[in-house]
Amino acid sequence: MNAVDELFGGPDYDHPKLRAWAMRLAGGETALVQVRRPWNGITRLRPELFIEFSSPAGVFVDSAPWEPSLNNALLAQGIRAPSLTDETQRLSLALRAFFEPLARRYGDDYFNAVLLEYMRDAKMVTVEIAELEPEITTHPPHRSEHREECREDIKAVLTKAAKEQVDYLGYTRQEAVDLVIAALADYLDERFSVTSRRKLGWSPEPAGFWAHVANLAPQYPDAQRRARWTAAAADIATYLRSVGFNATAATVERELLGHSADDSSFPWTVTLDIAARRLVFVPKP
């Protein structure tokens, strides 16, 4: 096995671009991976994986169609996405690949029913999932030995997914759990056509992050009193959870970055320091 093979865990998986990318990493460049999945009408186009290499000489960006094995090879190298939002999307696609054999084995409808039941039993409730729930209908799974097997298989997939986020990408345990739950929400959204239905006007738009935060009004000003607040999204999520709002770090990051600028009720300007992976809050004038 040569050095390049070693870098990606052996010659079992090969991809035309992987060798070139491995050479760059072996040469000391750093990398970030990102997945792009644009909407086309009410469906999403095929995902594409982008990798950005940085070195003193500059930045080089390359891309390839999404493949679970290619992503695994990059994951094993500890290559992160630039933000938790991007990491969520990447993990959602990975979950799709992990779950595919289960859906085939148990049947899509049965798998759906058991997955939803498992998530409810495991109390995987976040703002994203709470907002999906009214839009998702499954019937209780038939009680049989297959139900227990299916639950065990689902649990194994989610455990593996969370463990990889910690072991390979160096996220904290809480960040990994948040990422898995946020990725599950994204997976369910696609599986049950929730956003597609919203685009068609068949389902109401979700209340959204700020509607939930508004319910925390008595507690929220505590955070606003600080003149300048630099924090990781995970810290903010922890704060919100401490006041009873079940938010993941990915939600916080996405919502603060996506909407705060236009939202007059939110008193901060937020910027993301990608290198430090921190959000910087500055009070609006």
């Binding site: 859906a103 084995r105 038939h142 049989s144």
Partner: protein, 277 residues
């Protein structure tokens, strides 16, 4: 006053009066698609014979017939117009109805033509491992040949593996032995009355494929548009009503009822099982 099954079928075949006010949200686990009246009648007849709580309901873009729970699934029936295209054809209905109901699977049930007359009989059931949308043919010419058809690049659109496994289990039951053909199906909008064309089409489309072409039909190519190619949620289960030859219409007249009944019986037998494969 009690009404007969035949009277109830006639009621259910009529369109519902226009919905007034908001349409209720519809959901189910599995959608059954039929395209023509005979298929629709056969499905309703069997459902009523089985004592299912058949009820017609408004959706946003379609009428549905709820069949209640079969096995472990809540099932609804949708009728499309014949063929894949046009508003109300299988493509537009599949996209709308799968999005509206969040169904995890779709089975297209009905009549098809057989491609192996020497080994198949009218009424035999065809189960698709996938479809070949033969309209995607390339038409070429050379100095010596004009307008020849190149089928080499026609994609094979695979059916849902879990639904296929369930159908294989049914096909293995003693009552279905020798009456079920599992393989690829040609799918396109053409009505074929020519055995030479049928054979040539099947032979050319089969080149380089691992599974045999067992038949052909019209709606599958539309139904396949409702899900990504790598995660299909559909399967075609149809019974042979003809062999796409000169006698097509005469044979359809004779075998229509048998074909529709067998396809419906096979599907209900498959989805009525409670256990997962």
């Amino acid at each position: 006053m009690d009404i007969t099954i035949e009277e109830r079928i006639q009621e259910l075949l009529k369109p519902l009066p226009s919905a007034s006010g908001a349409v209720e949200r519809r959901s189910c686990d599995l959608l059954l698609f039929v395209a023509i009246r005979s298929e629709h009648e056969a499905l309703l007849r069997r459902a009523l014979e089985m004592g299912l709580p058949v009820e017609k309901v408004h959706g946003r873009e379609s009428e549905y017939t709820s069949l209640g729970t079969l096995g472990r699934r809540h099932v609804m029936l949708v009728r499309t117009t014949e063929g894949p295209f046009s508003y109300g054809g299988s493509a537009s209905k599949a996209i709308h109805c799968m999005t509206e109901t969040q169904a995890a699977g779709l089975i297209s049930v009905g009549m098809a033509f057989g491609t192996i007359p020497s080994a198949q009989r009218a009424g035999d059931v065809l189960v698709s491992t996938g479809i070949l949308p033969y309209d995607a043919v390339e038409v070429r010419s050379t100095r010596t040949r004009t307008a020849f058809h190149d089928y080499a690049d026609i994609p094979r659109l695979p059916a849902n593996d879990a639904l296929l496994d369930e159908c294989r289990m049914t096909a293995d039951l003693p009552e279905w032995k020798g009456k079920v053909h599992i393989g690829l199906m040609l799918s396109g909008a053409a009505k074929i009355f020519c055995p030479e064309y049928r054979d040539r089409l099947a032979r050319k489309c089969e080149v380089g494929r691992s599974d045999l072409i067992v038949g052909g039909e019209m709606e599958g190519v539309g139904i396949a548009s409702a899900s990504p190619e790598h995660t299909p949620n559909w399967i075609i289960v149809k019974a042979i009503s003809d062999f796409a030859d000169h006698d097509r219409d005469a044979l359809i007249r004779e075998s229509r009822v048998l074909a529709c009944r067998n396809a419906v019986e096979f599907v209900f037998s498959t989805i009525s099982r409670k256990a997962t494969p």
